[in-house]
Each structure stands twice: as C-alpha cells, then as structure tokens.
C-alpha cells in the first residue's frame, strides 16, 4: 500500500478514484450518523446538548489523526527526501488545523449549556488548544520561508519535534489538571456509554476520518498538479 503510493504516477492513478470514493463513504456515514445522533434519546443530565458531542469529539480525534499523518509524512519526506511525502505533509496541515478549530468551537458551544461558560480550562480542551497552536506554528513557518524546498524541510523538522512533544504535552496538561481540579468535569465517553450514543458517535468518527482522507487526497493531488505546472512553466 505504502510502496504503491510512493510512486507519484501510481499515486495519481490510485487516488483519482479513491478520493471521491472516500468522500462518498464519508457523506453516507455523516447522513446515518447525524440521523442516529438526532434520533438518540436525550441525555438525562445534558438534555439535547449531548448531540453536540457527535460533532465535537470526532473533530478532535480527526485533528489528532491529521497531526499523526502530518508527522509521518514529514518523517518520510525528511529521511528519504520524498517529494510526494512533502506534498502530503503540506496538504495535511491546514486540514488538521481546521478540524482542531472546529473541535474548539463546538467544544465551546457545548461548554456553554453544560458548564455555564464558553471556556473551561479542562485538560482535554487545553490539549486541543495546544494542538491548534502547534498547527499554527507549522503553518506560520511554512509561510515564512520563501524557498519552498527549505520551507517544507524546516516545517517537517518542526512537525517531528511537535510529534515527540505531543504525548508529553498531553501528560503535562493532565497532570496540571489534577493539581487544580481533582475531579474532572467532563466524563462523557468511555466504554460505559450506552449504545444509542456510542453507535452514532462511532459512525461520526468514521465520517470525519474518511472526510479527512478524501480531502487529504484531493489536496495532495492539487499540490502535485501545482508542482508539475510550475516545472512546466520553468522549463519554457
């Protein structure tokens, strides 16, 4: 799979049908997931607002998965100087940032009815915020260096440093949270969730991840096209 995708020609051939396919799967999952989500019974504590979870939690997951994809692509691009991997890393970053931003906004919308405030320095929320800041740093660095080759490599180094740091950030924020508020406010999720909530949540998770996959492929493809076009222009 990886070896097959490493060849740009083959990647373009494979991704051409794969991107719309993933997109289609994503749309179906979204439709079913949302329908189940809205037909799920109200939570006895949270009422209707529990439904925000179906939009919020998968967005955070997708943001995290996108960073893992960004880190992996950066690693391959750095070590093997693989042009396609560089394009993949560049394509993943804005998507991840968007998902993470969505998670923050929906989290805030969820927080208002649940906690009575738009923002709580909860461990998870804070971790997602830091993740978003990491994305901002990556995008800022990529934009600040003019030479594209150099920008890609510098950003890749940053992505790897961030990837190494991410679990430590997660741990440190959890640790900080236990210092300040021993009992966490938010304990939705986990295997104890009733199936009427779990099923739509998992469906939505699948919907977000396939959406990320589809958009990622489309962005990589357009990046590859852009590079080809520029090479053509340079040759003339």
């Amino acid at each position: 799979m990886i070896a097959a995708l490493a060849n740009p020609q083959r990647f373009m051939a494979v991704s051409r049908p794969l991107a719309p396919l993933l997109g289609g799967v994503s749309l179906v999952l979204f439709a079913v997931g949302l329908w189940l989500g809205f037909s799920a019974p109200e939570d006895y504590q949270q009422g209707d607002t529990v439904r925000i979870m179906f939009v919020h939690a998968p967005a955070a997951t997708a943001g995290l998965v996108a960073y893992a994809a960004l880190g992996a692509a950066s690693f391959v691009g750095l070590v093997w100087r693989h042009a396609l991997a560089e394009a993949a890393a560049k394509a993943a970053a804005p998507l991840g940032a968007a998902f993470t931003f969505l998670a923050l906004v929906t989290g805030s919308l969820w927080g208002k009815p649940m906690w009575g405030t738009w923002w709580v320095w909860d461990a998870r929320v804070t971790s997602v915020l830091v993740l978003f800041l990491l994305y901002l740093g990556y995008l800022a660095l990529h934009a600040a260096i003019e030479d594209e080759q150099k920008a890609a490599r510098a950003a890749a180094i940053l992505a790897l440093v961030g990837l190494v740091n991410l679990p430590i950030i997660r741990f440190s924020v959890d640790w900080w949270n236990t210092l300040h508020q021993p009992a966490s406010v938010l304990r939705a999720g986990g295997p104890s969730m009733p199936s009427e909530f779990l099923t739509p949540l998992l469906l939505m998770m699948g919907a977000y991840l396939t959406a990320f996959g589809a958009l990622w492929l489309v962005r990589i493809r357009s990046e590859v096209w852009r590079r080809r076009a520029r090479r053509q222009a340079g040759a003339l």
Binding site: L78, V130, L133, L134, L136, G137, A140, L141, A144, I145, K150, R153, A154, I157, L158, L160, V161, G162, V164, N165, I168, I169, F171, S172, V173, W175, W176, L179
Partner: protein, 198 residues
C-alpha cells in the same frame, strides 16, 4: 543585559496592570515571575543563528572540523550562561518583590535555572528553524511557545507544591524534561541549520 531590562520592566508593569493590592499580587507573583522568564528568554533568541547565517559564518562553521550538532550545543550553552542564567537570578527577586513568600525564593531560583536551560534548548530549535525567514522574533515565539507547555506546567507545579508545603513531582518532571530537551535539541537544531544554509 537587554533581556534583564525587559524582564525587570515587565514585572514592574504587573502591579500597574493587575492592581497593587498585596493579596492579589502575592497570589499570582510566582506564576508571573515564571511566565515573564519564558518571554524574556525567547526575546533574545532571534540573533542566536541569524547573524551567522547572514554574514556567511555558518557556512564556515558547517565545513570546519566539529559537526554542526556540537556548534548548536555550544551556542545553546553559551546562550544559557549569558542570558538565561542571569535572568534566573532575577526571577526570585522579582517574585518576592511582587509579594511572594520569601521562603519560596530558593525553589523559584532552582526552577528558573532548570527552566531557563529548557527554554533556551527548545528555543534554539525554533531560532534555527526561523533563521533566514526574516520574520525573526515573533515567528520564534509562535513556534516555540506551544512546545514550552510541559516545562511551564511542571515548573509552576513545583513552585505551587513548595508553596503548599507538600511534596510534588513537579521538580523531578521539570528536570527530566530539561535533560531530554538539552540532549535532543542540538540534533534538531543542527538539522534545521543544515536546511537553512542549503
């Protein structure tokens, strides 16, 4: 020198912004002294590699005998001794001046010394990445600040624990993170520098 001035001015602004009531200041003093240290350490990182890149010295350093990793390690250490360590000496003074318990001074000093090394080690990576981008200091801060979340938390936790008089893992965690950062930073920094001169 400049960084110390910045640090002093920043802490002097705190009572003006937050109000001079001693109770309120005492509550936030250690945290503010800590976060001001982060900012002051980052501020002076801009010229760490930028000048060597501009005047061509970095090419010569890269082609000499010792590897760039060693250059990065030595420059980081020098930056710590010249800038961060003196700032660390100011940290307990600033905290006490803002109304922190003087008994906390030794802990704050220790945390500031360790944290200063950590900020410089992580900051060097950011400075090397930003070298040649012509955005300088602000870019370095945007790159580095999210990465500094763990040491900031661990350091604050250590000071908090000392304030409460309970043993906490903060200091050990900060020391571990600093060691790891100082050990790994030269490799990432050298990779970034090689990219900058290529």
């Amino acid at each position: 020198m400049l960084a110390a001035g910045f640090y002093a001015a920043l802490t002097a602004l705190v009572p003006l912004a937050a109000g001079p009531e001693p109770e309120r200041l005492a509550l936030v003093a250690p945290g503010l002294a800590w976060i001001a240290l982060v900012l002051a350490s980052l501020l002076s990182l801009e010229r760490l590699f930028e000048r060597d890149l501009e005047d061509g010295a970095l090419d010569l350093l890269a082609l000499g005998g010792p590897p760039l990793e060693a250059v990065a390690a030595v420059k980081t250490k020098a930056q710590w001794l010249a800038v961060a360590a003196p700032l660390s000496l100011l940290a307990p003074i600033a905290a006490v001046a803002l109304g922190a318990d003087p008994g906390l001074a030794p802990v704050i000093l220790l945390v500031a010394l360790l944290g200063g090394l950590c900020f410089v080690a992580v900051g060097a990576v950011g400075a090397a990445l930003a070298a040649g981008s012509r955005r300088g200091g602000l870019l370095i801060a945007v790159l580095v600040l999210p990465l500094l979340v763990p040491p900031v938390i661990f350091g604050a936790g250590a000071i908090q624990a000392a304030d409460d008089g309970v043993p906490g893992g903060g200091l050990a965690l900060l020391a571990a993170y600093t060691l790891a950062a100082a050990g790994l930073s030269p490799f990432a920094t050298a990779a970034a520098l090689r990219n900058a001169i290529s």
